[in-house]
């Protein structure tokens, strides 16, 4: 019986592994020409930096959405036709789509919570955990016996000896 379960688990695992291999859906591979290899590097970097406005948890490098394709084409045009640098391309996108189009949020006062919030919460959690653990440690207090008790003890011991 156990052998049966083990065998079906194994085949299930291999099916799952196979499925995993199939999942990465590559963005439509468009052959973009560049005048200089530097431009291609900038192109790739920029595509990773810009968020797809439609599929908002992907960069335009990863997304297959039509707008992502259009934006990649636009980045290519800016780099090749207008000889733009990376900063210019970013500003172009920001002017049209706003701050949210940056895949990594800007570091400003507004976004500090976004950037450091999780870390702060983690530290807070660890701190609370630490305090809890400390409180549950058995506290051994060696006060010893009071003088009265010590005399009483002596008496009992002496009394026992005499019996």
């Amino acid at each position: 019986m156990i052998l049966l379960i083990k065998r079906s688990c194994r085949s299930l695992l291999s099916v799952f592994a196979l499925l995993l291999l199939l999942t990465p859906a590559q963005a439509v591979i468009q052959a973009y020409e560049f005048d200089e290899p530097e431009q291609r590097e900038m192109f790739n970097r920029l595509n990773e930096e810009l968020r797809c406005p439609m599929c908002q948890n992907q960069s335009i490098a990863d997304s297959n959405a039509p707008i992502a394709q259009d934006l990649r084409r636009e980045v290519h045009r800016l780099l090749t036709e207008e000889k733009a640098d990376e900063e210019t391309v970013i500003e172009f996108m920001l002017a049209r789509y706003g701050d949210f189009v940056l895949y990594r949020p800007k570091m400003e006062a507004r976004t500090l919570v976004l950037w450091f919030g999780p870390l702060a919460l983690l530290l807070l959690g660890l701190f609370i955990l630490f305090r809890l653990l400390k409180r549950h440690q058995p506290q051994v207090e060696d006060q010893g016996l009071s003088e009265q008790d010590q005399a009483a003890l002596k008496n009992i011991l002496n009394g026992k000896d005499h019996d």
Partner: protein
């Protein structure tokens, strides 16, 4: 007292989530184009391919700029209401976005045409300059060609009454005052 802290935190959290249920879960990108002039463009019109129109021709009236395409299902849903608005005298100019001219014309034949005219944006370049990321999107533009409001998604009666109509009327009033001065 300390033992109630987890309970208090939990209740506070529940309160937060409860309030969240009624908050506007707006995943639209806020437009950086508000209060900025319409981007420059030069394009042909849908019905009249020889005619070229630029952003200058758009000034002089308060209007809705509606970005749509015959390929776009929500546009079809929104369309009858736009036809309705046009009948009531609302100025609507269309941007035929990433579409084929024939398909667009057939679509308008079948569903009605609320547009004064349509700017043809086959490649989507004008759309990118407008910060469009999906149709339908509708802009409210004043008589100086400045974008005053943007709505992503279907314009229905509620959207018109709540978001567009007050602004549209205020802008028309401002235009009247401008003209009479």
């Amino acid at each position: 007292m300390k033992r109630f802290i987890p309970l208090i935190v939990f209740i506070a959290f529940c309160g937060l989530l409860y309030v969240g249920l009624f908050m506007d879960s707006n995943t639209d990108l806020p437009s950086p184009l508000l209060d900025k002039p319409l981007p420059e463009f030069s394009a042909s019109t849908l019905r009249n391919p020889e005619k070229t129109v630029t952003e200058k021709e758009l000034a002089g009236q308060v209007f809705l700029l509606n970005v749509w395409g015959s390929w776009c299902p929500p546009c079809k849903i929104e369309h009858p209401y736009l036809v309705n608005l046009a009948k009531q005298g609302v100025n609507i100019i269309g941007v035929n976005y990433k579409d084929e001219r024939d398909n667009a014309l057939t679509w308008l034949e079948r569903l009605g045409d609320p547009y004064q005219y349509n700017i043809v944006d086959a490649e989507g370049r004008f759309g990118i300059n407008l910060g469009v990321y999906g149709a339908p999107e509708t802009f409210l533009v004043d008589h100086n060609g400045v974008i005053r409001y943007k709505h992503v998604g279907i314009v229905d009666r509620q959207v018109w009454e709540d978001d567009f109509k007050p602004r549209y009327q205020a802008l028309e009033k401002a235009m009247q005052e401008d003209v009479t001065q």
